[in-house]
């Protein structure tokens, strides 16, 4: 019992002397214990559990015993700060499609993750050009549509697909995430790409959500031969 009090005391002391917000996504864990989103400080997000015990609680300034309904969200805990907390990481710096084929679609994936607290939510937008070789650019899918082999298409979505092959994953909300794919990019087996559009969003303060982008490329028999390349920039904008 005394050890528990001592542990709590040390934890609170750490917070009060002002530990900064680290941009870390790695969770501390052992065989019997794990911290989810283990950030201490103004945006502490601590979930504790063992084999027979689990608590969603905060040891920091921002309370995170989260209860939510469609229109209401409660972060239970000690008083919160107005400071924003944003952590954003793109896990995949390169995406290789290999060889394109007019006979079948080519797919690839990339992941990114977002944590954004004390906000009115966030939106994720994607900028960039489709794969390009010389003066030829793979045609971007201006409207949401299924894959069609033999027709030039470049599109993405942020959900799990079964067509043209099994690829991608639905947003992983973990313990506290509320992010989701936007309407245009959230229909399985349908793809789209318009640079600058919102591809994902959270309508409210959200813990970590891991997004998987599924990329689709179809070419036709006339697509000029060559090494195609493109660059995508993902942008998260929170409103605080």
């Amino acid at each position: 019992m005394a050890k528990i009090f001592l542990g709590l005391g040390i934890l609170v002391s750490c917070i009060l002397i002002g530990v900064n917000i680290p941009q870390a996504f790695a969770d501390s864990q052992s065989a019997n214990y794990k911290f989810f989103e283990s950030v201490l400080g103004g945006t502490s997000m601590v979930d504790s559990q063992s084999a027979n015990f689990q608590a969603t609680a905060t040891a920091g300034i921002l309370g995170l015993g989260n209860s939510a309904s469609t229109n209401l969200q409660l972060n239970a805990g000690s008083p919160t700060t107005g400071d924003p907390a944003l952590a954003f990481a793109v896990d995949s710096s390169s995406v290789s499609f290999g060889a394109f084929s007019a006979a079948a679609a080519t797919v690839a994936t990339a992941t990114f993750r977002v944590i954004n607290y004390t906000s009115y939510g966030y939106v994720v937008t994607v900028f960039g050009t489709p794969p390009t070789y010389g003066s030829h650019t793979i045609t971007a899918m201006a409207s949401t549509a299924p894959s069609q082999a033999g027709v030039e298409q470049y599109g993405i979505n942020l959900v799990a697909n079964t067509s043209p092959v099994s690829v991608g994953a639905n947003p992983d909300h973990g313990q506290f995430g509320f992010g989701s794919a936007s309407t245009n990019y959230g229909t399985p087996n349908n793809y789209r790409y318009v640079s600058g559009e919102t591809v994902a969003l959270s309508p409210k303060s959200s813990g970590e959500t891991i997004y998987t982008i599924s990329y689709l490329v179809n070419v036709n028999s006339l697509t000029p031969a060559g090494q195609y390349s493109g660059s995508q920039t993902i942008l998260v904008t929170g409103t605080y």
Binding site: P79, D83, F97, N220, A225, Y240
Partner: protein
């Protein structure tokens, strides 16, 4: 037991001290909170808005709650949202951030600020002639052009926004708020479109049953017999077919190569490089890629290229000397350029079937025998 008591006392002391400090800090805030605030990192040219080290535009949008004079708004870029302890001026500027070249975009609405002062890196401020209070909950949008993002990838940074009554961002802030933004690792996409050429020849090349498009898997053997015995009073004819498609950017060229018709040491002369008409009683061996209409000395033989060229996905065409109906050409042992994919301009093309029509005329003195030749077609794409 005594040890446990000491631990309990220590824990209680730490908690009490912490709560006391927290309580004192919570009472130090005086400025009102700027509401609905956001920072959007906007692309500038081809540079993505969140690209680390990229020179982009920073677009701020927020609402000022206080109904007081606003002479300037300062944007302080920091690695943390607030100082330690909170609401102090402690700020470490993100590495690589450059704001000194920032300019101000033309305001599009809300409270207008005509100029930006960006002399201090990491702390630009916009200024206006202070006038009457704008009213409560005034919307403000500020777009700073040409801000160089921090250079660390996947790293959040914070901008502390503060309004001032003064025009030079000095004095006590009226309202304050913090926004967060993050750089992100750009995702590089790559893929290879392989070079493609599908070319086949045969006595015939058929079409796919389902699509109706040329299908090289249906091509037959290349042995071609003329429709009749050679005669000085009639023209013998025969056909073969070939199909070609490529994604070569400059398209393809097809040549016909080989000797003329030969029987032992006897030959039937080729018609030459320039297309000419069929003439009975004269030694002629020639070909073209057209649908020929029967006339006094030409049999009805051959078909046009199919599907017809349209200059977009079908670009195949017969070359000049092989592109006139009822006219034929052939030079022995020399590459005869018979076709290319330049209809509407050189480029890749989907599969089309060419039909080569061969004619033979012989003089009355043409030695008897079996005349044969092997014509080899070569399709060369240029990528």
């Amino acid at each position: 037991m005594q040890k446990q008591r000491r631990l309990l006392f220590l824990t209680g002391a730490v908690l009490l001290t912490g709560l006391t400090i927290a309580s004192s800090l919570s009472g130090s805030v005086s400025a009102a909170q700027i509401e609905a605030r956001s920072l959007t990192l906007q692309a500038r040219g081809t540079v993505g808005g969140s690209q680390a080290g990229g020179t982009v535009n920073h677009f701020f949008s927020f609402t000022i709650p206080s109904d007081t004079t606003v002479g300037s708004i300062k944007f302080l870029y920091c690695t943390t949202p607030t100082g330690v302890p909170p609401n102090t001026s402690d700020c470490t500027m993100p590495t690589g951030l450059v704001t000194t070249s920032a300019t101000l975009d033309t305001p599009t609405g809300g409270l207008s600020f005509p100029s930006v002062v960006a002399t201090t890196n990491g702390a630009p401020y916009v200024t206006r002639t202070a006038s009457a209070p704008p009213g409560p909950n005034t919307a403000v949008t500020i777009r700073l052009l040409g801000v160089t993002n921090p250079t660390a990838n996947n790293t959040a940074f914070y901008v502390r926004i503060a309004t001032y009554a003064s025009t030079d961002a000095t004095g006590t802030p009226t309202d304050e708020g913090v926004v967060a933004a993050s750089t992100a690792t750009p995702i590089q996409l790559s893929g290879i479109m392989p070079e493609s050429l599908v070319f086949c020849t045969g006595a015939t090349v058929g079409t796919n049953v389902g699509s109706g498009l040329p299908d090289c898997s249906t091509s037959t053997a290349g042995a071609v017999l003329f429709n009749q015995l050679f005669s000085p009073t009639d023209t013998a004819s025969a056909t073969s077919q070939m199909a070609a498609s490529t994604n070569a950017g400059s398209g393809y060229a097809i040549t016909a190569n080989g000797p003329t018709l030969t029987s032992g040491s006897n030959t039937i002369a080729g018609m030459g490089a320039t297309a000419g008409v069929s003439r009975r009683g004269i030694a002629q061996f020639g070909l073209n890629l057209k649908a020929n209409v029967a006339d006094a000395s030409t049999p009805a033989v051959g078909t046009e290229v199919a599907p017809a060229s349209n200059g977009t996905n079908y670009r195949g065409q017969a070359d000049t000397n092989f592109n006139s109906a009822q006219s034929f050409a052939f030079v022995a042992n020399t590459p005869n350029i018979v076709a290319d994919s330049a209809f509407g301009g050189p480029g890749g093309t989907d599969a089309q079937i060419f039909t080569a029509s061969y004619i033979v005329n012989v003089p009355g003195s043409q030695p008897a025998g079996t005349y044969v030749t092997t014509i080899t077609y070569i399709c060369t794409p240029t990528f």
